[in-house]
Amino acid sequence: MAVMTYIDAINSALREEMARDSSVFLIGEDIGKMGGAFRATKGLLEEFGGDRVIDSPLAEGVIVSSSIGAAMAGMRPVPEIQFVDFITPAMDAITQQAAKLRYRSAGTQTCPMTVRVCYGGSVGGGLYHSQSNTSWFIHCPGLVVVAPSRPYDAKGLLKAAIRDDNPVMFFEHKKLYRSMKEEVPESDYIVPLMKAAIARPGRDITAISYGYTLQLTLQAAEQMKQKHGVDVEVIDLRTLAPLDTDTFLESVAKTSRAVVIHEDNRTLGIGAEVAATIAEQAFDCLDAPILRVTAPDVPLLPAAADLEKFCTVSEDKIVAALERSMAY
């Protein structure tokens, strides 16, 4: 065990998987000599050489599409998208090539690729360094979408993703990169994909989130305990697609109340899918409306501090929603 930040955990997962399997390689902008915009790939060029840590041209499309081809040819590429805000050039590669390859070849050609994507706000990054757009990929069958909320999961899920035979979109929250530390095994382990976690057990109300807002939700849960003696069960979705619905449905069946929290825009954020699933499959369990705590439907995130703050989810906003639901 070692105390690691989220970025350390990512770095260590990459190093271990590269050492374990010679078909794993990295490609992306600035990932070599510089070690990545956030230093996720620090030291890997030196350790594994320029053939396996490729500083690519500034072209997200071919970063991903060349990875797809390499994956078809037996490699396990791990391309990096520096910011999700710049993923648009790779939209075709991801959604039309990678996601559909297995399907359109009836399983004869596949794409074991893990696209690492840095996302998320609350860092004053402004409109083009704060986006949280996971929905485009959740709405694309064939992709696995993963978004860890803590260092332990970041390492274990990334290792699982790299070994998985499906194209995985791996969302790393930039605010989490260095804002929290925890014990992380230095030995080999994985955290299973497609499985939500009960981040905090509780009996009174279910709060569902992922990524950075999962941490805020845990804080809000603690506040609810202190202030009102309310036991909040916090579900960490971890994998956003295909969604592990059973875990949160089971929780709502127990608590009868649900609040979904995410920092992406409200409309067709993952909260919509979670709420719709509950409203269809656990309707009889519900004692209160399903609430969503999200960013408003504006371009995310404006840069000026007050504008950003207005748009971001906070512990207080989550508490307010939990209180509203409990009061219902």
Binding site: S67, I68, G69, A70, M72, L101, Q109, G142, E250
Partner: protein, 362 residues
Amino acid sequence: MATTVEPTRIAADVLMEKQSPEPDGALYRRLYSYMLKCRMVEERIRVLYRQGRFAGNYFAAVGQEATEVGVTLDLLPEDTIAPSHRNFVTHIMKGTPLPLMFAQIYGRKTSPDQGRSAPAHCGYAPLNVITPSSTIAAQLNVGTGIALAYTMRRRPNVVVALSGEGSTSLGFWHEAVNFAGVRRLPILIVVENNGYAESVPVALQTAVDDISVKAQAYGIPGVSVDGNDVVAVYAAAREAIDRARKGEGPTLLECRTYRWYGHSEIDPAKYRDPAEVAYWKARDPITAMELRLESAQLWTERWKRELESEFTREIDEAIAFAESSPAPEGKEALDEVYSFSIRERELERKVWEPRFTVGRAE
């Protein structure tokens, strides 16, 4: 101001001299017979389409056989073809069994894609034909990744990627060729310039006359050849492929040709001048090769008829196989989305009941 560069043009006659790898002109006869087979397969598919025997659409390369055949003859099984929508017949060149190809046209369970994609959009994994999507230039991009894997694995293989001149306008095309140039990938980038992208003439695609000039933007060799001259195409492709195998990087090869029919079977192609069509039909690559072979005493009417009846038999058998193959069952639509099954998830949506009352008033 940059001057315009004349791309190298290869005179086929010179090449007839230069290239004689096989005795008795066997090479030339093979080029010819493959062209004939491609033509016959596509003309038959077109008949089947008009008879309503399969659904969907088809993009015939009739008239372009010299290119389809010339750039793909004699690839190794481990080499990859990255075909576009108009390159279904390159399957013949790679060796995909004809019955499977017709099963694909019919969208049957026995086809390489088991009826999922459009009639002509299939790959063939055993012989490394990439399963194409429809996005123009996409296979070229995916192809760069296969070429990258070849270099990483130190394999002496190449990728032959095909697309039309329209593809060169897309950003994807550019990103792929640039990447191939930077990393000196073993890939042959074939641009079949047939003058039109659907209805749009090449003058509205690009302000250059020779597509091969574009190679200069990427620091790679660019060659333009008469795409209706199968020997010229073959020679140019072979040279590029040989260089790629030796680690000398990619080549951009423009083949100038023409499609006889519409963009697809539903396109009457009214945007073209009939005189233009007639001009190109008179330059039929197959007839041209017949004349050439005949003058070298490598061709007879009788041989052609033998080939025709052999191919007809093959095609008939392939169609019979396809027509007697089962259609995929509806539920199979749920398969191969992921490496694991989603059938249960999609077919049995559970409903939850309250587990216990939490003891709060409503």
